[in-house]
């Protein structure tokens, strides 16, 4: 059997069908008028489609979705107030994009600017943004149990900050909406056709059977494209109102202002240990900058981070406060890792601090705290024996010799994939062809390759007989989405379950199974393969850097030792690891969304936002644990692992070469000026 290519040929021919490539007859182009102020009262809005007509809010769906309905929920349009620079106030429509841009000038908005709340500390000290609340706290929870260890031999405290970063897929957000009077059809760049449908149906109060969402070729997601956005609702509403198709494509500047970014999290940590390096307990406070509105990742993330803060270590006492706060910035969203990198950063920074305090080797300290069997931490983090894994990782990454030069940093972590509630799959066999739909929508991860491989393994057919179909809510009745390192695990399990159902059906009917019987008959089988519990896995990274006198860090090498279960497609695995590592490197060295104190965006372009180029890519050494999950196809999670491990390993390496304690990302050159040893 010929090896299936990991990338589709039509994409290198320029024949992709991304959403901006879709042209429908009589189509309108939408442009959005956005608030120039981070916080203002709106005295009046005249012109365009605005909130005087289209009322209501944006329902939270997808990764980290939460239910809410109040003053603090994001409205479709800012009508009486706006709470971040970039918030939509009106939309205009024209026959082409240039004319739509011109029309923006026809909208008149009367603002009364107010003093914005622009950071976590300000949020905690300034009067509330929302008059219905007493404070700017969006959510406040505790994980673990109170304990008393103030007399422990070693007590260390520190405070960390991961600044906000934009998701920045090279294809921005966009959709085409079209209505024939009864049915609304949406083509969209997305990680989850089903979440988009749920959000449109819920927010615009439509009947589910009257909405169809189809995934266009999707130019990267990284968390951005799983959830609902106000622009989608505006375009959908306009298509129904004007009875013409409506296209909206985000500009990069809009992306920087109004697409939900990730990170933006403070961690205050207190570690209690004995002098042999055994961690006795951890106390902490995680504060997430949720941004202007409640609902979704900003509200969800703090508790999720607090859960993971104990890392792959046997820590018997833990008590962590998890807070999210309101500020006058675009709401936080999921960005690759979505809480996992922050948790690892906080804990790994403390482990390094403890190692330095005790003058111990950081690897030895980690081994001392690793577990010899499965463990569940007081905050709720579950993982398998971490000690044998770390021992193997240190050998595979050649820690002993690489750490000698004094420019390497180590990080160990637990990857918590979004395992529950499972995923759906439908397989249709007809006319000697096998067609497959999967609930999670690929946006560059080559899900089609493993889908075909698993079906071919289960059913003994050639991959050439299998078609992988795009996300389409009319073709697949339910589905979750592609995020949280989940699809190879839960999507893979769903595929295998449906393939086996078909096989059983054939065996029952014909007394035996053969690929010929499969292809010469017709089948249409759907299953939502439910998953309970967790599928957490372990990972480790080692990074080596050099520093010059101008404070510029060059990353020399990144080593990986990950447990991803059975690798389903090595090209894609390598691509996920390296792509994720460069995002992790970006977060560590250059990426940031920055605002001035009065709330104006300082990073309006993708270059200002610090996305890495090809120029400074290090060497990579990728090793995988020889392992299988308990699922029939053996997969575990991967996609987010490098964004978790790489920043923590890199900052330690930077700390070693500069001699300066690193507490935040990005670590910019000016912070390291003249520190070369």
């Amino acid at each position: 059997m010929e090896e299936e290519l990991s990338s589709p040929e039509y994409l290198v021919r320029g024949k992709g069908m991304y959403v901006d490539d879709i042209r429908l007859p009589n189509m309108l182009h939408m442009a959005v008028l956005r608030s120039p102020y981070p916080r203002a009262k709106i005295l009046s809005v005249k012109g365009g489609l605005n909130g005087n007509e289209l009322k209501g809010g944006v329902e939270s769906v997808g990764e980290g979705a939460t239910a809410s309905a109040s003053e603090t929920e994001e409205p479709i349009f800012g009508t009486t107030s706006v709470n971040y620079a970039g918030q939509p106030v009106a939309a205009v429509f024209a026959d082409d994009l240039y004319k739509a841009q011109d029309l923006l000038e026809s909208v008149e908005v009367d603002y009364e600017p107010l003093k914005p709340v622009m950071g976590i500390e300000e949020a905690l000290s300034m009067p509330p943004i929302y008059s219905s609340l007493q404070t700017n706290i969006m959510s406040d929870k505790w994980r673990g149990k109170e304990f008393e260890l103030e007399n422990a031999p070693v007590v260390l405290e520190d405070r960390f900050f991961n600044r906000r970063v934009a998701t920045n897929p090279i294809e921005p957000r966009g959709l085409v909406a079209s209505s024939d009077g009864s049915k609304l059809t949406i083509w969209i760049s997305t990680q989850s056709a089903h979440s988009i449908k749920e959000g449109i149906v819920g927010s615009l109060r439509l009947k589910p059977e009257n909405v169809r969402v189809i995934q266009a070729d999707t130019g990267g997601g990284f968390g951005l494209k799983g959830g609902m956005y106000t622009e989608y609702l505006i375009a959908a509403y306009a298509a129904m109102k004007y009875k013409r198709p409506v296209k909206w494509i985000e500009t990069r500047r809009e992306h920087m202002m109004a697409s939900r970014p990730g990170r933006g999290v403070v961690g205050k940590m207190k570690l209690f240990a004995d002098r042999a390096g055994k961690v006795l307990g951890v106390k902490g406070e995680v504060i997430v900058e949720g941004g202007a509105f409640s609902g979704g990742m900003g509200e969800f993330a703090s508790n999720f981070i607090a859960m993971q803060v104990t890392g792959p270590y046997q820590i018997e006492n833990a008590h962590v406060r998890a807070m999210s706060v309101f500020t006058n910035k675009v709401p936080m969203g999921p960005y690759r890792g979505a809480g996992r990198p922050e948790a690892a950063f906080f804990m790994e920074r403390m482990m390094d601090l403890l190692a330095d305090d005790l003058k111990m080797d950081p690897a030895e300290l980690r081994l001392r705290n690793a577990t010899t069997g499965p463990f569940k931490s007081p905050t709720g983090l579950e993982f398998e024996a971490s000690k044998p894994f770390m021992e193997k990782a240190l050998r595979e990454m050649d820690y002993a010799s690489k750490s000698k030069a004094g420019n390497a940093g180590l990080a160990c972590f637990v990857l918590v994939p979004a395992y529950q509630p499972g995923e759906s799959c439908r397989i249709v066999v007809k006319d000697k062809k096998i067609r497959v739909w999967l609930g999670g929508n690929s946006h560059g991860q080559a899900h089609d390759v493993f889908a075909k491989k698993l079906i071919s393994e289960e059913l003994g057919v050639d991959v050439k007989d299998i078609e992988f179909e795009r996300g389409d809510t009319d073709m697949l009745e339910d589905g979750v989405g592609a995020w949280g390192s989940r699809t190879a695990i839960v999507g893979g399990a769903a595929i295998v379950s449906v393939a086996r159902k078909i096989k059983d059906q054939i065996e029952k009917e014909f007394g035996k199974y053969s690929p010929e019987l499969l292809l010469s008959n017709q089948f249409d089988v759907y299953n939502f393969e439910k998953q309970k519990g967790s599928m957490n896995s372990l990972g480790a990274n080692l990074a080596t850097v050099e520093l010059d006198s101008l404070g510029s860090v060059s990353v020399k090498e990144i080593d990986f030792y990950y447990d991803i279960g059975r690798p389903l497609n090595m090209d894609a695995v390598r691509g996920q690891i390296i792509g994720g590592a460069i995002q992790g490197m970006g977060q560590t060295l250059s990426e940031e969304i920055a605002y001035s104190q009065d709330g104006q965006l300082l990073t309006a372009s993708i270059a200002d936002a610090g996305v890495q180029t090809a120029e400074h890519i290090p060497r990579f050494d990728i090793r995988l644990a020889d392992s299988r999950s308990v699922l029939p196809h053996g997969a575990k999670g991967l996609g987010e692992a490098p964004t978790i491990g790489v920043p923590s390993a890199l900052v330690r390496a930077i700390e070693r070469v500069s001699g300066k304690r690193v507490r935040e990302t990005p670590v910019k050159a000016e912070m390291l000026l003249g520190l070369v040893k």
Binding site: L5, S6, S7, P8, E9, L11, V12, R13, G14, K15, G16, Y18, D20, D21, D96, L97, Y98, D102, N168, P169, I170, E171, P172, D217, T218, G219, G220, F222, I249, T251, R252, R253, H443, G444, Q445, A446, D571, A572, R574, G575, I578, G579, G580, A581, I582, Q583, A604, S605, I606, A607, V611, T613, A614, E615, H616, I617, F620
Partner: protein
């Protein structure tokens, strides 16, 4: 808003239209010529997704007005393959997994075609420097660099 008559040879075919004078070349290619393989990823000339060849030389088509390209020759990604057969650079990107989502790919491929046209055997450092005007958020670039090396090998017969 004023209009201008432009006539551009795109992939060997003459395309002419009366367009708004402010129309960018990238919009002419996508909306007038219907060639959507040239992508738009930014509004600040940073991403390179819109890279095409103008008289054989790589340009970011979002920085050129359609009117400025009038009377000149453009090659887009759709114009690379001959009789349906992939150009060696396209083939190399497929073979070496030089793409994930594929959105940056046409621009990367066009930059590579241009690089190899004047420097058939670039060093790794030259490749990196050269494609650093094209952003990719998915691959981490390593497999793109491998793709460029593969293309160079296959176009020079590995010499």
């Amino acid at each position: 808003m004023g209009t201008t008559r432009v006539e551009i040879e795109v992939n060997g075919e003459a395309k002419s239209a009366e367009v708004e004078s402010r129309m960018l070349l990238v919009h002419f290619l996508r909306d007038v010529a219907g060639l959507t393989g040239t992508h738009i990823g930014c509004d600040s000339t940073n991403c390179g997704a819109c890279t095409v060849l103008l008289d054989g030389k790589a340009v970011k088509s979002c920085t050129v007005l359609a009117a400025q390209a009038s009377g000149r020759k453009i090659t887009t990604v759709e114009g690379l393959s001959a009789n349906g057969k992939l150009h060696p650079v396209q083939k190399a990107f497929l073979d070496k997994h030089g793409l994930q989502c594929g959105f940056c790919t046409p621009g990367m491929i066009m930059s590579t075609v241009w690089l190899l046209s004047f420097n058939p055997k670039p060093t790794e450092q030259e490749i990196r420097r050269y494609i650093s005007g094209n952003l990719c958020r998915c691959t981490g670039y390593q497999d793109i660099i491998e793709s460029v090396k593969r293309a160079s090998d296959s176009m020079t017969g590995g010499r």
